[in-house]
Amino acid sequence: MAQVAEDKDIDQYHYSKNLDNAVQYLSFALGKEEYGVDILRVQEIRSWEPVSRIPNVPYYEKGVVNLRGSIVPILDLRERFNLSKAEYTPLTVVVVLQTDDNNKTRIMGVVVDSVSDVISVDKTEIQAAPDFGAKVSNEFINGLVSVNDRMVMLLDVDKLLKLEDLDQDEI
């Protein structure tokens, strides 16, 4: 607990030091990797609950849930990033994000292992994601930042949640 408090202090310090350039990110874990999304895009954090499967869509689109009356799709980020599959437990977390698609706000949930922290990042400290070559896709990654010597990959929510077009013929 003490550690957490100390971290917080550091964050606070960080925050006040660079008020102008600070952006806050919500960081979460997928396996051993840590990712961050712009906190202003996070609508809420929920625990995993069973979804209703949608037929004939990509495997990482797990299904839809009822979020207070609206139908919200749930994507599995592990599967999206081709990481090893994890079992869903009651501790599995769904981060509900807002995305802008052609000036239309959509709400989607992403399944992550656990939510870690809120981090304040100085804009100037964000490094561009290196090119990993064709093998590793970095299209969703906005940049890298190191927080307490850990590397956090900052995700571009809009790109991340842009649904792939299915090859459906328009009827």
């Binding site: 209703s52 009822n66 649904l163 009827i171």
Partner: protein, 707 residues
């Protein structure tokens, strides 16, 4: 602080457009031989309220324009003027012009003055003949002041102003000889001294004809109003042979309590520049401005660029969508809510100290609640229901315009205009219907000569019919024109390579061809139709509303196009079915019947497809488990299952599901709002346990399974 009039603009525009529609339909129903005075009255009322409203809101251009229309209509009403076909045509044009003006003002764009002046001139020519044009200007000006006084007094309820009788001013207005213009701006405490301005005005009115303009822009907000203070000022105009002393005498009592300025009216009265009317004049005394000569009426105006206007119209800004609801419907709704509240508190009471002996009471309460909820749902849905006449009422004009353009004689019959449909349907069905009617007008109905040659009456008939059938509303467009030529359609389809030459098509399939993109049999393109785009769009639009469209046609006799639409887009009666451990909803309206079957009852076709024989008819079978890749749940490969026979787009087919669960009304939720369109699924709904179930799109499923 002034009253923010803009908050009423939306209502004003809605009323105006309604008025315009009433005028239009009135004008179109006018029968030259036998004039129904009630119809003229309706048209007149429309014009009058637009004039009054626009005067109040400072849209002088509109008010000025309507005034001329009104004068014309007034004469028609009194029988002083013959109602002629040409006058009606001019009036119809002016209705269009007014609509353009209002749309421009609504979108805060500049009014196209050239076209306004042109239409106005046309009206004036009908009214007076060309030489007398300047005269109306004067009459108009005084009339306008009167309207403003009426309107403004009426608007402001906080001032109990007795309406001053100014009606008699109208006729003498033209020969204005002498008079006075008085700016009367009382100090705040005028009322405290026991003076009543209305009394003064009444006395003035005895001297001569009085016209009053009220300046209310100094009235503070509601909370700041001190009822004992007088925040209003008046501009008075009194006409007649009166000396200044007589006027001074009346105002003698209030001399110390107001600012006043009395001026002699210059004669003849000339129309003030228009801008003055738009900005309410400040309450301080206006110096007597030299009055500008009336703007000359241009007779030869160049034709405005119509394309420009059309272009503007398409860029109309998005406006708040609103709906007008019958108060009865609201009352019912409020009643229902009351009932629900009572039931809820009753249930609360039962639940507070619950013992098993209260079970009966609880059950009763719950069933009551269920009933009330259902009623409540129904009355809320009712609010969204609008009569289809909202759409239909535009078509007489369309038919009138196009038929005169094509030199065809066509009567439009409307049947079942009061059929109610969901507002969303009303809004979306308009464009497809316009398209279909244009088609009927252009391709369907023949030229009068051809009709006579074919032994048909010279005048063609198009019938637009709406009625309820089952859970659907059916809209039919029936014409007695030449009908669809099957041979020609086939030939064209083969020529365009849309079908193979030796394909055998049923009659229905041939008619369906016209819905193919790029298909047109028109020999020549007209600006009305014939480009071959459209019918496919029409069908797509109707399908997106969850409806379908079918064609029945007989060569030489006519064509009937029937559109089936769901009554509402928000709620449907559904049959829940189980597929594996998933639940899907099948819209009840598309279910014909359900049959328990075993594997043996299905026939394989070419090892792949399956059919089911239902009363000597082989129907294709869609295995829901297969098409939706349902792998979960018990693995028995549907040895036994339920065949749900559904109709989608006129085709029968069978859905093989595991089990029927139950029927319920479901609220349709959009899947696309946050997600995407999924093939074979029209939407989603939330079940009683909070989970999401998908609603099957039966026609889509049929198409999907074919591929």
């Amino acid at each position: 602080m002034s009253i923010d009039m803009s908050q009423f603009h939306q209502v004003f525009f809605e009323e105006c457009f309604e008025g315009l529609e009433a005028m239009e339909s009135g004008l179109l129903t006018l029968d030259m031989g036998d004039i129904d005075s009630e119809i003229i009255n309706t048209i007149f009322r429309g014009a009058h309220s637009i004039k009054g409203g626009s005067g109040t809101f400072g849209f002088t251009v509109v008010a000025e324009y309507t005034h001329i229309m009104e004068t014309l209509l007034d004469e028609m009403r009194d029988g002083r003027r013959q109602v002629t076909q040409s006058a009606v045509a001019v009036l119809l044009d002016s209705v269009d012009c007014l609509r353009e003006m209002l749309t421009a003002i609504q979108n805060e764009k500049a009014v196209d003055n050239a076209s306004v002046v042109q239409h106005k001139t046309a009206l004036e020519v009908v009214l007076h003949g060309e030489e007398s044009v300047p005269l109306i200007k004067q009459e108009w000006m005084l009339e306008k002041v009167k309207v403003e006084a009426e309107a403004e007094v009426a608007t402001d309820n906080s001032i109990k102003n007795e309406a001053v009788d100014v009606n008699n001013i109208k006729n003498e207005a033209v020969e204005v000889e002498q008079g006075w213009k008085i700016s009367f701006c009382p100090y705040l405490d005028l009322l405290k001294t026991g003076n009543d301005p209305v009394r003064l005005f009444r006395e003035l009115n005895e001297l001569g004809d009085l016209t009053i303009t009220v300046n209310i822009q100094d009235i503070p907000g509601f909370y700041e109003i001190d009822p004992e203070e007088c925040n209003i000022s008046w501009d008075l105009k009194v006409v007649g042979d009166i000396s200044e002393d007589e006027i001074r005498e009346i105002f003698n009592w209030v001399e110390g309590d107001c600012e006043m300025n009395i001026e002699q009216l210059t004669k003849p009265v000339k129309s003030p520049p228009v801008i003055q009317q738009i900005d309410p004049a400040p309450a301080i005394i206006l110096p007597n401005k030299p009055v500008a000569p009336p703007p000359k009426v241009m007779v030869d105006v160049k034709k405005p660029d119509i394309q420009d206007i059309d272009h503007d119209a398409t860029k109309t800004t998005a406006k708040a969508s609103s709906i007008r609801v019958d108060t009865d419907k609201i009352d019912t709704l409020i009643n229902m809510v009351g009932e629900v509240v009572i039931t809820q508190s009753m249930l609360g009471l039962v639940g507070e100290n619950f013992t098993m002996d209260k079970v009966g009471q609880l059950k009763r309460g719950l069933s009551q609640l269920e009933r009330h909820t259902r009623d409540l749902q129904q009355s809320v849905m009712n609010i969204r229901m609008l009569p289809i006449s909202f759409v239909f009422s535009r078509f007489p004009r369309l038919v009138y315009d196009i038929s005169s353009k094509l030199d065809k004689k066509i009567v439009l019959k409307l049947v079942g205009e009061n059929t109610e449909v969901d507002k969303a349907v009303v809004e979306l069905i308009n464009d497809p219907l316009v398209h279909l009617i244009r088609n009927s007008l252009d391709h369907g109905i023949e030229m009068p000569i051809d009709r006579i040659a074919a032994g048909k009456p010279e005048t063609g008939t198009i019938e637009l019919k709406a009625y309820h059938r089952g859970g659907h509303i059916v809209i039919e467009i029936i014409d007695d024109g030449r009908g669809l030529d099957k041979e020609k359609l086939l030939a064209k389809a083969i020529e365009k390579g849309l079908i193979e030459e030796n394909n055998l098509l049923t009659e229905k399939q041939i008619f369906e061809l016209i819905f193919m993109p790029g298909f047109s049999t028109a020999e020549q393109l007209t600006d009305i139709s014939g480009r071959g785009v459209g019918m496919d769009v029409v069908r797509r639009n109707i399908q997106s509303l969850g409806g379908n469209i079918e064609i029945i046609s007989e060569l030489g006799k006519g064509t009937t196009i029937a559109i089936h639409l769901p009554l509402t887009l928000a709620i449907l009666d559904g049959q829940s079915v189980a597929v594996g451990d998933e639940t899907y909803i099948v819209p009840l309206v598309s279910i014909i019947e359900s049959i328990n079957i075993t594997e043996r009852m299905l026939n394989k076709v070419a090892g792949k497809g399956e059919t089911f024989r239902l009363r000597n008819e082989y129907l294709p079978v869609i295995r829901m488990r297969k098409i939706f890749n349902v792998g979960s749940g018990d693995k028995i490969t549907s040895k036994e299952g339920v065949l749900v026979i559904v109709e989608g787009q006129g085709e029968l087919c069978c859905l093989l599901v595991d089990e029927l669960l139950g029927q319920q009304q479901v609220v349709i939720k959009s899947l696309e709002a946050n997600y995407r369109r999924v093939e074979g699924v029209s939407g989603a709904t939330i079940l009683g346990d909070g989970s999401v179930a998908l609603i099957l799109d039966v026609p889509g499923l049929v198409r999907f399974s074919i591929r």
